[in-house]
């Protein structure tokens, strides 16, 4: 655990926390521009969060301690996952723990906490959202793990840092398997973050909601925590995609301030690019019917499996 | 063997007579005729056994012959006649497979018996084997009769004929130990069987009519649909 590792880790975490709402705001603003509207400033999510924190929360009479504790747990788990995913630098202090399966587990933990909070009050919408979210996750998770399989074969490890290092050196080169894994991971990312076409992040129609349906009963700082958790999750996924598929320009932790600056720049460019891509994609797609979502995720699962099989064939099955 | 050819010819003749009477038994349709044939078979058997006793010099066999004569040629036929009259049994002994096929089956059985017994390893007595083949044929024919005859008398006649084959086999070889005792025991068995058969039949008739009782009180077989594991 080098000093450089600790410093980069702290900077990384601070940046992630600070930038997550901004990223959400940025995507919203870009989407609005693409649709010909002026759009709110990218700072708007931060303003909303601070406003919510100042308000007095209102809890339902039937709410239990779960409603109070779950947001902290969910945000804590997401933040822990975020701390593990490399951003601008490699070899951060927590890099040895940065395991892809653990990240999946932490995301599952926050998902679980969210679903619990949704069920706490005992409303139709909360239950419905929780049931749908867990069902989608049931397909998203194997697709994710199968993508991990591709990385594990190519890099020999499931550690994100190690994978990034191997890929940055261009070890595996361009492979059709990686393309398939990328497609699968993109689908999973869309589903996990409740983006179009799986779930609309800005819908007002309760019947079609998944994520928002679970938050109908929350308010005040609890709502702020959930919003922050969602933003952090988006951040996490974009960073993860960047770390796995665009590992170029990431600064090693020992490379000093200038190296870090270069890494930061590269990271900002990557994130911005991904945000633009997301905004463009979301503007161009419609939300699919709820029961088409399994087919969407099933296709992702099959793509990932196909990627693994291609990999077996191309590595010549030893 | 220290005996002349005649003694064996005679023994085989008598044994062959017993076998022939088996076919006669198979051929008969009427109760009275069956009982007659049975008595004749008893006489033939007694003669055969006595001849063996004389040839082998075993006086015990005379007793066996006498017993056979008394029981099978006299007592049992008379008893059977009385019973048939008493129980008012049908007069015709119908056969399950018909007389002709029955005869054919009988011939086939004899052929089988010969096939089984005769292929001898060198050195053992061929003549003794012939006797055995005849006895085996008689036993098999007796069983055949038990099976193809529907009449109670058919069962009894078959069993008695079968027992005749046993005595024939037992009396054949020289020096079979306990032959008299065994023959007597066999006779006791058959007598008991016949007596028991009819005694039970009598009790049965006293108790009431109707065969197949065994299958009725606990009509077995689950009702359909109750197919448990």
């Amino acid at each position: 655990m080098t000093p450089g590792g600790i410093v980069t880790q702290l900077v990384h975490l601070a940046l992630m926390l600070a930038l997550a709402p901004l990223l959400v705001g940025l995507v919203r603003w870009l989407k609005a521009r693409l649709m010909g509207r002026r759009g709110a400033t990218p700072l708007q999510p931060w303003r909303d969060l601070l406003k919510l924190l100042r308000k007095q929360p209102l809890l339902a009479e039937s709410a239990s301690a779960v409603s109070i504790a779950a947001p902290y747990l969910a945000l804590g788990a997401t933040a822990a996952a975020v701390a593990l995913v490399p951003g601008f630098a490699r070899g951060m202090a927590l890099a040895p723990m940065a395991d892809l399966i653990l990240v999946a587990g932490l995301l599952a933990l926050s998902r679980f906490a969210l679903a619990l909070a949704a069920m706490d009050v005992g409303t139709a919408f909360g239950d419905l959202g929780a049931a749908r979210q867990m069902s989608f996750a049931a397909l998203a998770e194997p697709a994710f793990i199968l993508s991990v399989l591709c990385f594990a074969i190519l890099a020999g490890s499931t550690n994100i840092d190690a994978i990034g290092a191997v890929f940055a050196e261009g070890g595996p080169g361009l492979r059709v398997s990686l393309l398939l894994a990328l497609l699968a991971l993109l689908a999973v990312a869309l589903a996990e973050n409740g983006r179009l076409p799986v779930d609309s992040p800005s819908t007002q129609l309760e019947l079609t909601m998944v994520h928002e349906a679970m938050l109908l009963e929350t308010s005040g700082r609890y709502l702020a925590l959930w919003e922050m958790q969602a933003a952090l999750r988006l951040m996490l996924w974009l960073s993860l995609l960047a770390a796995l598929f665009l590992p170029f320009g990431t600064a090693p932790a020992f490379s000093g301030v200038f190296g870090w600056a270069a890494g930061l720049l590269a990271w900002a460019v990557k994130l911005a690019g991904l945000a633009v891509a997301l905004a463009v994609f979301e503007s161009a797609t419609a939300r699919m019917r709820l029961f088409r979502v399994p087919e969407f995720l099933g296709a992702a699962l099959l793509l990932a499996l196909l990627g693994a099989v291609f990999l077996f064939l191309s590595t010549g099955s030893a | 063997m220290g005996f002349g050819q005649l003694s064996f010819d005679m023994a085989h003749l008598l044994a062959g007579g017993v076998l022939l009477l088996c076919f006669v038994l198979l051929y008969q349709r009427r109760v009275a005729a069956v009982i007659h044939a049975l008595a004749l078979q008893g006489v033939a058997l007694a003669l055969a056994v006595a001849w063996q006793g004389w040839v082998l010099g075993m006086p015990g066999l005379y007793i066996a012959a006498l017993a056979a004569l008394g029981a099978k040629a006299v007592a049992i036929p008379i008893g059977l006649r009385l019973l048939v009259r008493r129980l008012e049994l049908r007069r015709a002994v119908d056969s399950a497979i018909g007389i002709g096929p029955g005869m054919v089956a009988g011939v086939a059985l004899v052929a089988l018996a010969v096939l089984v017994v005769l292929p001898a390893t060198p050195g053992s007595g061929v003549l003794a084997r012939e006797g055995l083949a005849i006895a085996l044929s008689v036993v098999l024919l007796g069983m055949l009769m038990m099976i193809i005859r529907r009449h109670p008398i058919g069962h009894v006649a078959g069993l008695l004929s079968l027992e005749n084959g046993l005595v024939l086999a037992a009396a054949g070889p020289r020096g079979l130990p306990l032959v008299v005792e065994l023959a007597t025991a066999a006779l006791v068995l058959v007598l008991t069987a016949v007596a028991g058969f009819f005694a039970l039949r009598l009790r049965d008739d006293v108790a009431g009519p109707g065969p197949g009782l065994l299958h009725q009180p606990y009509a077995e077989g689950d009702p359909p649909g109750k197919a448990g594991r």
Binding site: Q56, L73, A131, M134, S135 | G221
Partner: protein, 675 residues
């Protein structure tokens, strides 16, 4: 050590005898349960001691048939499972001590015998003792089911007992020939003898099939799992826990012992494939059923099928890797199996006992009759949450540790060269992940529907917190399972002898107290670090918000999307505005249930003009058990019917048959010349 086991076994037999006396002295019931508790603790200590210090030589018992004298021995593999059995037994014993101060003698006889059978199976040092213990276990647990059926007099319980016994006999009928084939002509059934002469070729395949059928049916591996969700929930909670957590593990122990330890060396890679496939099928079907069941204990039993499947996958994978000379990876898979077996035993016991407490407190096992119990039973709810989260494989709890190792083993199994293994493993990986996610959904549904929301029946409102000893059992299990989750490395170090026996390789490369690693290059897992991070972030966040957002929360009526306030006659709201158990399961039912569980949804619309409401009928059934039993049962019926024609024959026909037999022999004699 072996002598200690013998003493504990004798103590269990004595307790069974004492249980017989409970008809006269009802105070004996507590004594029996207390004794079982003490023996369980003893078993746990014994297992731990052997794992730490090594076992002794086999001990020949003075009983048993002369050709196969019973013998006992505790080695690493047995010790690991003894540890597990002891832990479950102690918790179940504490529960029984609380709730069954009076029990009929038939149950007090069967209960110690059940423990006895399991301990004997684990402590056996030869094939005959193993079978004897296995059968004693099956019979005694059948006795417990019968006792339950006699008390409730329900048709379901009777059916459960009958199915159970049928499968028990089936298991014996498969295991006995398997062990006989392993023993071979020499007939030496001691483990040492069996290990010295491993089976090979076609016989080996037959042995594997028989063991998988025999022990797999007891472990609940698909397709022989059908009895498990019917039988396990019938028993009282403690016994359910023992059946679900200990007995299935004992069956897996038999699989591991016979197939991996004794028969494992010198087998082709295909040796482990059936186990892997069956395990994957069980994991998937079990998890999917768990998301659909509406009875809390049935749900837990189905979840057991899932976890047993995961353990079986670990064992099968270990066999495949071992055959491919990938010893270190094989040891990872074996370690995953053992760790997950222990973890499952801990958290599933917790869940079953909690379900028992809920049934005791709220009077029902149906999810649709519960709800909102977190207010009435906060401690039970909290403990159960830990168990449910562990069962859902959430980090940093024990369930995640096992599944992490399993996934690591699966992810590195592609190193086995053959393409079919690679594809198989890839599919197995997907299935494992899918079942884990399904299991998480099932556990959320389990915990959420029982403890969260509003009460669905008035009875639920009268629920009370569990009694102190039961609470102690629950808390102890939470502590154990959290501890096991935090220190998987230490546990794996402890399990090293068992791992070595299963995988033929000494153990994990890196398994420190704080860290587990699949290999030097693969990734590491630091459970304590994860816990630290979580505590840091969640706690820090709470501390920060306490400063920045100090407003106390106000309470108000639930908004519920604008639903009107409940009427006066429904003081706790209209239950229909919450999801029902079937409703909560609907997305997954539509998603996966159609093919796998014969799920159906039919809307009955009233005719136009008819004011009757439309009705939705939804349901599912597991097609495997009927598909398995119906043809067998029909075939047996047909054979039995065919045998009946003999009964209807008359005496003449019987004579004919005898004559025919004789003729057949004579013809044989005429045709065949033996010389």
């Amino acid at each position: 050590m072996t002598a200690a086991l013998a003493i504990l076994l004798c103590a269990l037999l004595l307790l069974a005898l004492a249980g017989g006396g409970a008809a006269r002295w009802s105070a004996l019931a507590r004594g029996v349960h207390g004794g079982c508790l003490a023996v369980s603790v003893g078993l746990m200590a014994l297992g731990g001691a052997v794992l730490a210090g090594g076992g002794g030589a086999p001990l020949l018992l003075p009983v048993g048939p002369p050709w196969a004298p019973l013998s006992l021995a505790v080695d690493g593999l047995s010790a690991w499972f003894l540890l597990l059995l002891g832990a479950v037994g102690a918790a179940a014993g504490l529960f029984a001590w609380t709730h069954e101060a009076t029990a009929p003698p038939r149950r007090l006889i069967a209960y110690p015998l059940f423990l006895f059978g399991m301990a004997l199976t684990l402590g056996a040092a030869d094939g005959f003792t193993l079978i004897l213990g296995f059968e004693a276990m099956s019979l005694a647990s059948w006795g417990l089911l019968v006792a339950r059926a006699l008390e409730s007099r329900g048709e379901d319980e009777r059916l459960a007992a009958r199915l159970y016994l049928g499968f028990a006999i089936f298991g014996a009928a498969c295991l006995i020939p398997a062990i006989a084939l392993m023993g071979g002509l020499a007939g030496d059934l001691s483990f040492a003898g069996l290990r010295a002469a491993p089976v090979q070729g076609g016989v080996a395949a037959l042995v594997m099939a028989l063991v998988l059928l025999g022990a797999g049916s007891r472990a609940g591996l698909v397709p022989l799992h059908g009895w498990l969700p019917i039988a396990h929930p019938v028993a009282p909670a403690g016994v359910s826990a023992l059946m679900s957590c200990a007995m299935t593990k004992v069956a897996l122990y038999v699989v591991a012992r016979l197939l991996l330890d004794l028969g494992g060396p010198a087998q082709p890679p295909g040796w482990g494939a059936p186990l892997l496939v069956l395990g994957a099928a069980s994991a998937l079907l079990g998890a999917l059923r768990a998301t659909q069941e509406v009875d809390s204990k049935v749900l837990l039993a189905c979840s057991t099928i899932e976890h047993v499947g995961l353990v079986a996958m670990g064992l099968g994978l270990s066999a495949i890797l071992r055959a491919a000379d990938l010893g270190p990876l094989a040891s990872v898979a074996a370690g995953a199996a053992l760790l997950h077996a222990l973890g499952h035993a801990l958290f599933k016991t917790l869940l079953f006992l909690a379900a028992g407490e809920v049934e005791h407190g709220a009077g029902s096992r149906r999810l649709d009759a519960l709800g909102g119990l977190i207010h009435a039973m906060p401690l039970v709810a909290l403990c159960t949450l830990f168990g449910a989260a562990a069962a859902a494989a959430l980090p940093p709890l024990v369930g995640f540790a096992g599944e992490w190792l399993l996934l690591q083993a699966l992810l590195s199994a592609w190193r086995v060269g053959a393409l079919w293994v690679q594809v198989l493993v890839a599919v197995a990986t997907a299935v494992a992940a899918l079942s884990t996610a399904l299991g998480a959904a099932a556990m959320l549904r389990f915990w959420g529907l029982i403890f969260l929301g509003r009460a669905r029946t008035p009875r639920t409102l009268g629920a009370q917190e569990a009694a102190p000893p039961a609470r102690a059992a629950l808390v102890a299990l939470v502590v154990l399972s959290v501890g096991a989750g935090m220190l998987p490395g230490s546990l794996l170090a402890l399990a090293a002898p068992a791992v070595a026996q299963i995988s033929g390789h000494a153990g994990l490369v890196v398994a420190g107290p704080l860290v587990v690693s699949a290999s030097t290059v693969a990734s590491d897992y630091w459970p304590l670090g994860v816990l630290g991070l979580l505590a840091l972030f969640a706690g820090g966040l709470a501390a920060v918000l306490r400063r920045w957002s100090p407003h106390p929360a106000a309470r108000g009526p639930v908004w519920d999307g604008g639903f009107i306030a409940p009427p006066a006659h429904l003081p706790f709201g209209d239950p229909a505005t919450q999801a029902s158990a079937a409703g909560f399961a609907q997305p997954l039912r539509r998603l996966l249930g159609g093919r796998l569980l014969m799920a159906r949804e039919v809307v009955h619309l009233a005719a136009p003009g008819d004011p009757a409401p439309a009705r939705l009928e939804a349901g599912f059934h597991d097609p495997v058990l009927p598909a398995l039993l119906r043809p067998l049962s029909a075939g047996r019926e047909r054979l039995a019917g065919a045998a009946e024609w003999l009964r209807d024959l008359g005496i003449r026909q019987f004579l004919g048959i005898a004559f025919g037999t004789l003729l057949l022999l004579l013809v044989l004699l005429a045709l065949v010349d033996p010389a």
